[in-house]
């Protein structure tokens, strides 16, 4: 007769196997997308399922050979952890669906490919998936940790990345430029760009001193031990630096379009208040404008949307509202001292992919004329494809001309889905035209 432990274990193992089978059926519900987007991500899901299944088999063997009930109970605890892992894997169900086919327009899908090459310098399997949470987020190399813990080598030849976007914004091209920032996180992970910033810090002693001052203030305001305070502040600084490198990569590749996107998406939610994961939006805006100043874009913003740009400039000078937590002000000091280094690292990383004002200016008038007349701005009069980044930037400029040059117009511009679908179609056509010319 089965013992209580045996009955418990049997239920746990059967539940794990049932759940693994359900997920495997979801993966196999359609033919695998061989040679297409999503293929590498699904390979990783299969590997994770296989590893979990092997884990169940191992636990079953361990349970069968357990010497006594105490050992059996240890195996049950271990089995329960596997069940939690399997339960966690259900989170990927919407990603599996998205891996088979994006609901996003082809123009955006192609543009994300372009972003990947510019930011990661290598192909990646980007799965874009709608999320009920109103935000963009990235999961770089999904399941890397659980697979490592289960002793399985990461199976994908091409890096999978999951990018979530707000479910009700599938056609919001202007907001989707946040994806450039999100892919920046993968670029940091793959190219150690944050370490490169620290390595190139022209004043490491100054950075250390500022951090020490932040530690002292932290201990006064929050208590704890110096080691814990230093560790926590280093983590916050690392988060902030990552966000700012991502911002710099996005604005380096997209030019002023990213500043406008960041304002449209961020300003309704964030202001001068810091958090442990993100620097205040005001500081981020300040640093974006610094980058655009270095790269010569400011006159274009002042000419195209003077009122809105003046508002951005004003918000970027608002002081950080850290309340009693003055250690955040020290972190801002450290970041500001690294600002030029961030720019240098990002410039070097982007190389020829840095969006140059001259490259845009040569097409800007023609693209503007096309947009004014509702002509798809994909192909120039000389039959060459318009640059995707110029299409987007011209689209922003045209949108301000249409909706008015006021900060509030950011909401109506993002709400003008017809205009963004139009621009996204132009991106698709431009890519097709460019590839056609190489055949």
């Amino acid at each position: 007769m089965a013992t209580d432990a045996a009955r418990d274990f049997a239920l746990l193992a059967a539940t794990a196997r049932r759940s693994i089978d359900d997920l495997r059926r979801a993966v196999h519900a359609a033919p695998p997308p061989r040679g297409r987007r999503g293929e590498h991500f699904l390979t990783v899901v299969e590997a994770a399922l296989g590893a979990l299944e092997a884990g169940v088999a191992d636990r079953e063997a361990e349970f069968a050979s357990a010497a006594d009930e105490q050992e059996q109970r240890a195996v049950i605890r271990s089995m329960r952890r596997i069940n939690y892992d399997v339960m966690g894997l259900h989170e990927v169900s919407p990603w599996i669906e998205s891996a088979r086919g994006s609901k996003l327009a082809l123009g955006l899908v192609y543009f994300v490919d372009e972003l990947v090459f510019a930011l990661l310098k290598a192909p990646a399997d980007v799965v874009m998936t709608p999320s009920g949470t109103y935000m963009y987020s990235t999961i770089h190399k999904p399941f890397e940790d659980p697979l490592t813990n289960l002793g399985v080598a990461y199976p994908a030849a091409v890096l999978p990345i999951i990018v979530s976007y707000p479910v009700h914004e599938p056609d919001s091209l202007f907001l989707h430029l946040i994806i450039a920032h999100e892919l920046g996180h993968s670029a940091i992970a793959e190219h150690n760009l944050d370490q490169e910033v620290y390595r190139r810090d022209p004043n490491p002693t100054g950075t250390r001193d500022t951090l020490s001052q932040a530690v002292a203030e932290y201990l006064t305001q929050e208590g704890g031990t110096p080691a814990a305070a230093r560790g926590r502040l280093r983590v916050i600084l690392r988060h902030w630096l990552a966000e700012l490198i991502c911002d710099a990569l996005a604005v380096g590749f997209l030019g002023p379009s990213y500043l406008l996107t960041a304002a449209a998406f961020g300003a309704p939610f964030d202001g001068p208040e810091p958090s442990e994961t993100h620097p205040p939006l005001t500081l981020r805006t300040h640093l974006l404008i610094e980058r655009l100043t270095s790269w010569g874009w400011i006159p274009l913003l002042q000419a195209g949307m003077p009122e809105t740009f003046a508002w951005m400039l004003e918000t970027s000078t608002r002081p950080q509202q850290a309340a009693h937590r003055t250690y955040f002000l020290r972190l801002e000091e450290a970041i500001r001292n690294l600002s030029k280094t961030i720019e240098d690292v990002v410039s070097a990383h982007l190389g020829a992919d840095l969006f140059q004002l001259d490259a845009h200016a040569s097409n800007a008038d023609e693209l503007s004329a096309l947009l004014e007349r509702d002509i798809l701005p994909a192909q120039l009069l000389d039959r060459s494809p318009a640059s995707r980044r110029s299409i987007i930037l011209s689209g922003w400029m045209h949108a301000f001309a249409k909706h008015g040059d006021q900060p509030v117009a950011l909401a109506s511009i993002v709400g003008d889905r017809d205009q963004q679908r139009f621009l996204t179609k132009a991106l698709e056509m431009s890519v097709v035209l460019e590839r056609w010319a190489t055949l």
Binding site: A105, L106, A369, L370, R373, D374, I375, L376, A378, Q379, L381, R383, P385, D418, R421, F422, K425, E428, M429, S430, V432, L433, W436
Partner: protein, 208 residues
């Protein structure tokens, strides 16, 4: 009214004044401009008709547009892939090219006969008005007995462009079809308004 021949088409396509230019973009190859027409390619977006779960489609119903929208399923087929169109299946496609006619030109969309000989009917709403801007919606019906695989990017129709006797000053702003970049489902707002009038006419006739 004169059909534009090759040289006239090239001139119209390269006109430097945007307001007078015939726009067909993107043109992947020069030889799409033929003797007296421009070859148009199949675009990547389709609306497939499906059987409605409603009673039917009634232009006199206030919920008509919702009934119509319920009829279509949007499919995106990237270049490099294909869409099977089965016998008697109907789909709306769109031209790959975005077309804009200046006020001096009109045009007709014609199916390419090679497809027609396979049973594929390409367009029935053939006339393009002066001033139109957008991708042209193609009504695709497979009248043959064999499924046909449709590949976006292949030339499927042709645009025959003609001049007008004089530039039209009449422009009919139609915001429902403003610069579409994909197939457009039926929009019968004008017919709905007309039906109201016809209904009133019917009521008045009944009372006589």
């Amino acid at each position: 009214m004169t059909l534009l021949q090759h040289e006239a088409l090239v001139t119209a396509l390269t006109e430097t004044d945007f307001d007078k230019r015939l726009v067909v973009t993107p043109l992947l190859e020069d030889d799409q401009v033929g003797e007296a027409s421009i070859d148009l390619r199949l675009g990547t977006e389709f609306l497939l008709l499906r059987r409605t779960l409603q009673a039917g489609v009634d232009v006199g119903d206030p919920g008509f547009q919702a009934q119509v929208d319920d009829l279509y399923e949007k499919i995106v087929t990237p270049i490099g892939e294909g869409l099977w169109l089965h016998p008697q299946q109907f789909a709306l496609g769109a031209t790959f090219e975005f077309v804009r006619l200046p006020p001096t030109l009109g045009a007709y969309v014609l199916g390419r006969s090679s497809w027609g000989r396979l049973g594929l009917l390409v367009a029935t709403a053939v006339m393009v008005q002066p001033g139109f801007a957008g991708s042209l919606t193609l009504e695709l019906v497979n009248e043959g007995d064999s499924p046909v695989l449709l590949y976006p990017g292949l030339t499927i129709a042709q645009l025959a462009v003609h001049s007008l006797h004089a530039q039209t000053a009449f422009t009919k702003a139609d915001p429902t079809y403003r610069a579409p970049t994909g197939p457009q489902a039926a929009r019968l707002a004008k017919e709905q308004r007309a039906l109201e009038k016809i209904s009133k006419l019917g009521e008045s006739l009944t009372r006589i």
